[in-house]
């Protein structure tokens, strides 16, 4: 027997019963379709909602917190910044180019729906290993999609992350972050205003692409045959979106809209009902007025289509003509599809009003479907309480610590590695292999496919700890970093969640900025598994603790569950985007590079922490132990000190220590500065006894490397002592070798070669 309709639409029996109870009758097909997308995990956050409340979200500079299209913070001088991050994981797994492209398009609409001009994109990306041919196809497709869409739509991609790990082989993660800039009085919200206002659908025609994407693709895992889901992937048109951006920005400038909302997941069902529900109003939608791409589309398709490049603007009848004129000038389709009412009902008609939104008899159809002509007194084909669509079920899903966790945590990789790499063993080959690991290697192959300079704001582009964007007309600048570290979260999600926040904040500090706001994209496995929900809950707590300690409000986020395929869940992968503010940018911030003749200074003490490190996990296959300690108090001391250092011109180069540890951080700085370096490991500050290998490759948090003129060393060390930060000179930049004394010694030319060309070589295999 075939599954009943609600099951086919991805709803449980209990959810179906809840709909029946809400309506007091059986829902129509259209009503059921709308509930199924609106109550999907992707749209309703039904599993994550109880946890997300624990994030700290307030700060005096927060103008709009979580829940709107994007978070908005005040950056002074009447300027505000809108930020948002989202995932487009499943579409990218099914069709890499379009999946990534439409991810970019969607996040941009979220940001300009707030009234902001989108000025920067960042993409944290995660793939399987490049030795797998399908992974290479997905990787190249995703990068091309971001390049093809982002460049043409005219929003620069100023940075991001690319990580390779086998757990993402069938389920890549494509997270996209967007930042927009606006004046305070340009802020737009999704509100419907008074009854009688009109809902105008702007942009692309509505097609059959992305039908049920939120419920079918985004809210279920992958099994064999998931390529059959390809019709649920949308297709992007950056030229349409570019015109839509310019038209909307002109509408805002001329104060022609009351409210605005983008059409994303769940399409028009979501945009129209949410906008009206927020103001306690109602909405009548007439599907006959929707401009469509193909004939014979059904109301279900029209209401749940996720066709891209569409926005819903709420306008007053008096301003409709001006709105249509602006749209026409930008060659953007515009049609009145809805009418704001005072009914608190969401009603859908097929034939209700004319082109001006005036209910009348026998309205002409605006498109080619000239089947039967309907009259205005036709009954609604859907009629539901407007708040009920956005008020889906909430699940307090069970949590359980994974059975094998204690055992894995107890299995510290230190033991095995200490035996194999006792002091005196040459570690040069280990260092070279790490530099050639695609996660650590140079990402220029990726970033040069992205326009990262448009708008003349990019002071520091891709490849540094953080991107730096100047704010023209002011002395201010923004620093942005996106980060994630799933292996730490897999070993201890609470500590891992905190470490991710610390790393992003540290990256921003290395650019001279004070971290101001964070958005997160929480990529997890199947929430119906108690172990996954436990990971999720722990990550939320760890991130919350770190954010609270750093006074870093969470202004938005996105949850992506069901990242599993063939029964295997991905490692818990929270990614974050952190924005920091530089008040007075006078010169380009120091690069992550050494300068010939400089002293090399390490801030922060090293501990023997190899759990989850690149060295232990990637090179030696040891996925066990515990992650480094997340010392929030040490971070509180280090971050302002580092920001001041970077901003004051006291250092010539500065770099966060992360993947691959101190050895990789210093080697990267040598490569970037095109100068060798001689390091004496005995000088490295440690908090407990370490072997040489542990000093080189431990991934202890709260550490930064600086390149400092030898004349300035004493002053800087004294300042570090005063700030209670462990600090020491560990070597001098110069020569043609990256040398850590007897334990590791590689030629600068060779180190540069393996690091720079690793990704290209992996692709040519």
């Amino acid at each position: 027997m075939a599954d009943s309709l609600h099951v086919q639409l991805g709803m449980t029996d209990d959810e179906f019963e809840a709909v029946v109870a809400e309506l007091g009758r059986e829902p129509t097909h259209l009503e059921l379709a709308m509930y199924s997308v609106m109550w999907s995990e992707h749209c309703s956050y039904k599993s994550s909602k109880p946890h997300l409340k624990r994030f700290p979200t307030d700060a005096p500079w927060v103008m709009v917190g979580p829940g709107e299209g994007a978070g908005v913070i005040d950056v002074g001088r009447d300027l505000a910044v809108a930020i948002r991050i989202e995932s487009h994981n499943h579409p990218s797994a099914v069709e890499p180019y379009q999946g990534a492209a439409t991810g970019v398009g969607g996040i941009i609409r979220d940001v300009f729906s707030m009234g902001a001009r989108p000025i920067a994109l960042m993409d944290p990306l995660r793939f399987g290993n490049l030795d797998d041919p399908r992974t290479r196809y997905i990787f190249e497709g995703v990068v091309s999609g971001i390049s093809g869409y982002g460049n043409a739509v005219g929003v620069p991609t100023v940075g991001g992350e690319v990580v390779f790990d086998d757990c993402y082989r069938d389920n890549p993660l494509v997270n996209v972050f967007c930042l927009g800039l606006l004046n305070h009085d340009e802020l737009q919200l999704a509100v419907a205003g008074a009854p009688g206002n009109l809902a105008v659908l702007l942009g692309s025609g509505t097609g059959r692409d992305g039908i049920g994407g939120a419920s079918v693709l985004a809210s279920a895992g992958f099994a064999e045959g998931s390529l059959d889901k390809r019709p649920s992937v949308q297709v992007g048109d950056p030229f349409e979106e570019k015109r839509l951006i310019e038209a909307c920005l002109e509408l805002y400038r001329r104060k022609l809209v009351v409210g605005v909302q983008d059409l994303g997941a769940a399409g028009l069902s979501c945009a129209a009902s949410e906008t009206a529900a927020k103001g306690g109003a109602g909405m009548d939608v007439d599907v006959a007025r929707i401009v469509r791409r193909e004939p014979k589309m059904t109301p279900v398709e029209l209401l749940t289509s996720e066709s891209q490049e569409r926005m819903l603007a709420i306008v007053t009848p008096e301003q409709l003509d001006d709105v249509l004129e602006v749209a026409a000038r930008w060659e953007v389709r515009a049609s009145v599809v809805g009418l704001v009412t005072d009914t608190e009902r969401f009603r859908v008609y097929d034939g209700r009003f004319d082109a001006l939104g005036i209910p009348g008899k026998n309205p002409a159809r605006p498109h080619g479907d000239n089947a039967e002509v309907l009259s205005s007194d036709s009954a609604p084909i859907a009629d539901v309480p407007i708040g009920s669509l956005g008020d889906g079920p909430v699940y307090y899903r069970p949590l359980a610590v994974p059975d094998d966790l204690a055992e894995r945590q107890a299995d510290d990789p230190r033991g095995v590695l200490a035996t194999k790499f006792a002091d005196g063993v040459d570690l040069s080959a280990e260092l070279l292999t790490l530099l050639a690991t695609p996660t650590i290697a140079d990402k220029t192959w990726v970033s040069r496919q992205y326009d990262h300079q448009l708008f003349l704001n990019t002071v520091v582009g891709p490849g540094s700890d953080a991107a730096v964007l100047r704010l023209k007309g002011t002395t201010k600048a923004l620093a942005i970093s996106t980060d994630g570290k799933a292996r730490f979260c897999a070993l201890d999600p609470r500590v891992g969640g905190a470490l991710v926040v610390l790393e992003a904040a540290r990256n921003v500090a290395c650019a001279g900025a004070v971290p101001k706001a964070l958005v997160n994209c929480l990529n997890f496995g199947n929430p119906e598994h108690p172990e996954i929900m436990w990971q999720f809950s722990e990550v939320v707590d760890g991130m919350s603790e770190a954010c609270a300690a750093l006074d870093l409000p969470v202004v938005g986020g996105n949850v992506s569950f069901y990242n599993e395929s063939r029964g295997a869940n991905i490692d818990p992968t929270p990614t974050v985007g952190v924005v920091g503010l530089i008040d007075d940018l006078k010169v380009i911030p120091p690069a992550a590079a050494l300068r010939d003749g400089d002293a090399v200074l390490v801030l922060g003490a090293t501990a023997p922490e190899l759990g989850g490190s690149e060295w232990a996990s990637v090179l030696h296959g040891l996925h066990a132990g515990v992650p480094p300690i997340a010392d929030l108090e040490a971070a509180g001391r280090l971050l302002p000190f580092v920001a001041e250092l970077a901003n004051s011109g006291a250092v010539a180069g500065i770099h966060d220590v992360s993947d691959g540890g101190l050895a990789v951080a210093i080697a990267e700085m040598a490569i970037a500065g095109d100068v060798g370096v001689v390091i004496d490991l005995a000088g490295v500050p440690i908090s407990e006894a370490c072997s040489q290998a542990e000093i080189l490759f431990s991934e202890t948090s709260n550490r930064v490397v600086c390149s400092v003129s030898q004349l300035d060393v004493e002053v800087l060390l004294a300042a570090a002592v005063a700030a209670e930060i462990p600090a020491a000179v560990v070597g001098i930049a110069g020569g043609a070798e990256v040398s850590f004394g007897a334990c590791a010694n590689v030629g600068l030319v060779e180190a540069t070669d393996v690091w720079r060309y690793a990704i290209e070589r992996s692709l040519r295999r």
Partner: protein, 224 residues
């Protein structure tokens, strides 16, 4: 008199605000010329900026050349007015027949956004009158279709008439004869793939583009 710079905006153009910013920094009065208006509004010089005019659909510049403003640009150029096409603007000027040749996909079949070094090959053009022949400028490129091509007789003509304005020091895209920019026979219409406006401020890592944008303003002073 402040020089009036007109920067053309097609749907899909995206570098217009950047060119206006850079030109304004140099003291010009720069504003948008809408592609649908059949006039250049009496400006002293016209810049066709980068981006994706009409989505680059069909072929780069292929639709843009039919926009009403382009006839006015052709008339303006014919009367000796300085016209510069940057990146997509260069592609459009080629499609419109104001410059010889065409731009095809990069030899590597990938989009390239990176710093480039270009050598000034002639100072006899509206874009290089303030530069020295042989001077190497650091100006970013940002394109998928920057691989310059023309037939052998056109190339011979460009070379003989000193109309190759810039060559890449290291050819990034397979361009014929390393060509990064060319001018018309009257030397008042110049197209180049690199973006001078992206090298207009020390905070952006290079100010070399100002040599070129400043030359355009000087050329206007000479014309008027």
């Amino acid at each position: 008199m402040t020089t009036r710079v007109g920067v053309i905006q097609f749907p899909g153009t995206n570098c217009e605000l950047d060119v206006i910013h850079a030109m304004t920094q140099l003291g010009a009065d720069a504003s948008i010329l809408w592609h649908g208006d059949p006039t250049v509004n009496g400006v002293d010089t016209v810049i066709v900026p980068g981006g994706f005019a009409h989505g680059d659909y069909l072929r780069t510049g292929a639709i843009a050349r039919f926009s009403p403003v382009m006839q006015a640009v052709a008339d303006f150029a014919a009367s000796g007015g300085p016209v510069v096409g940057i990146c997509n603007g260069f592609q459009i000027l080629c499609e419109a027949g104001l410059l010889p040749g065409a731009l095809q996909k990069n030899a590597g079949l990938k989009f390239l956004c990176e710093p480039a070094e270009i050598r000034v090959e002639t100072s006899r053009s509206v874009l290089t009158n303030g530069a020295q022949v042989g001077q190497v400028l650091r100006v970013p490129i940002n394109h998928f279709e920057g691989n310059y091509i023309c037939d052998a007789s056109t190339l011979a003509e460009l070379q003989a008439e000193d109309r190759v304005v810039f060559r890449y020091v290291r050819n990034p895209n397979g361009a014929l004869d390393d060509i990064a920019g060319v001018c018309n026979a009257a030397r008042n219409v110049v197209g180049l793939m690199p973006h001078p406006e992206r090298a207009s401020d020390r905070l952006l890592g290079s100010q070399d583009g100002n040599v070129l944008l400043g030359s355009v303003l000087s050329a206007c002073a000479k014309v008027s």
